[in-house]
Symmetry: D2
Subunit: 182 residues, 4 copies
Amino acid sequence: MTEIRLLGICGSLRKASHNMTLLKTAQQLLPEGVSLHIADLTEVPFFNADVTTKPAAVVALLEAIQQADGLVFACPEYNYSIAPALKNALDWASREPDNRLLAGKAAAIMGAGGGMGTSRAQYHLRQVGVFLDLHFVNKPEVFVNAFSGVFAADGALQDEKIRANIQAQLIALQALVTQCKK
Amino acid sequence: MTEIRLLGICGSLRKASHNMTLLKTAQQLLPEGVSLHIADLTEVPFFNADVTTKPAAVVALLEAIQQADGLVFACPEYNYSIAPALKNALDWASREPDNRLLAGKAAAIMGAGGGMGTSRAQYHLRQVGVFLDLHFVNKPEVFVNAFSGVFAADGALQDEKIRANIQAQLIALQALVTQCKK
Amino acid sequence: MTEIRLLGICGSLRKASHNMTLLKTAQQLLPEGVSLHIADLTEVPFFNADVTTKPAAVVALLEAIQQADGLVFACPEYNYSIAPALKNALDWASREPDNRLLAGKAAAIMGAGGGMGTSRAQYHLRQVGVFLDLHFVNKPEVFVNAFSGVFAADGALQDEKIRANIQAQLIALQALVTQCKK
Amino acid sequence: MTEIRLLGICGSLRKASHNMTLLKTAQQLLPEGVSLHIADLTEVPFFNADVTTKPAAVVALLEAIQQADGLVFACPEYNYSIAPALKNALDWASREPDNRLLAGKAAAIMGAGGGMGTSRAQYHLRQVGVFLDLHFVNKPEVFVNAFSGVFAADGALQDEKIRANIQAQLIALQALVTQCKK
């Protein structure tokens, strides 16, 4: 059975990001045969069409996306839409010839934020995925209220219901990756 | 009669940006009593809650927004949503206490891009405005197809119909700023 | 001081609708000088451009909208978007010459539904309002979780926090109507 | 090779609907092994949870959806969102136990309308599909400007570019149906 390689992309750049915790929690909950690497966006600059030589951090990001069979977005919500660092990572990736890094790939979205769990941002991200030709897991959606005490003082996510939700989404993504590769 | 000061914010960072041209065109078409300053986003970094001292470019941006009575967004469309540099400018501005820089301000959106003139990105921006408590001009919307030959070789926008459209939007914004300040 | 007349439009047609309860609750919480009439959509058929004689229920709806200074939408969420009966009422109203029934009117949205309180539907409704030239109250938004026990067995809404939220929205709408009429 | 049965659902109820023409044009352009039946929404009433006995037109609609392997939506745009008759058909279908009529089905969207070809409505429909667990064709999208002369006086759609676009979408849908059934 072929290993499925997932790439996690987190829209928050702060060190103690709850959204990054979602990705790290996902790493503990992977189905057998699935791996999850997390991209490093800290040095990725804003996309600018005038920049003709890709910075090293962009090169590394694009290679990581190329090697991935599927994507897991940790999607914060800033002012009712997508965090710029996450959108920017996709904008860089979208500039490769024939959209070869993204076209037809399966993806899942999870997010931690206010009471609606970043849902508003997630629907914007799904619209972005239409142009990028991504295929998203529909169910389950993962909406985490970061202010409800589910994150421990040390940042860990121990809530069993949310962990089960993340695990179910990873299983759905595994199936969708398999389906999209056929 | 009080001068109305508008601030233009452009989501594209490239030098020959068509969206920046929209703002410069708007500067030629201002109603009497209205001025339009254009913000400089080139050095504004990604918002990161870990950064506690605002970089100089952010300080300058926030001061420019504070001094403005209304905002004009030049809104490119990247992959069916908002350009990160534009969203990021708003994310920085939104962090001031009580949303004092943005709450209740009037705004207008114009955009140049593919055949739909950045409309998909503009509707996402309008949703952002709900949280930021911006009041947008509804009509006219300004959607410019950048690939239809309306921009001359030197970048200038001479198309009379689009210029009239921009002018009508500025007049509507002037009225909305006046209304919102009452 | 001029009386402000509001019209409530509810997207749910069922008799014990929680969204209709929101409008009836709003009638108990009106600021002084504000009245709220509720439209009857039960006999309004689907809009069809082939129908050249307006049915009586449509005529009554359009008259009620014409007489209103502002609109209050009780917006259920069906399958992540707007209830057809609500959208259909607006589609009929939009067909009058020069959009004379709706252009420039102030409006507010409240909704009762699942855990996100119909937010997904409400943002779709706000996009509809761009074309209809409605001006929506930005804050407060009213999102009611109908499954959280806030509605009593007899359907009444006694939750003090939600009642205060509705009242604050009505005060904001009163101010916006006044502003839009200037 | 198994026949793939598609069901077309058109949001416009008028007899000479351009969107219905899109579906009839699609019937002329089907890939081998694919059939396309068109649903009749003319007698489908508004969904109302108080109605416990399904009207005959609803029963017929639900049976047609059940028998379909994939769906083709002809999606008009009314006031920047979905036509109520189309949304209403999906609302009825969504009420079956376990979402058994729709869960996991592949679908495509085409639309004829103003200059943006109903794109605003189509993105709302895609959000509806997240909850309904539909899998949409990403590319090609079909956006037809009904006012550009592509429809002949007798209503026929002869424009070769649009016909090729519809055909390409049907081929993509055929592939997606096959993929989703695995």
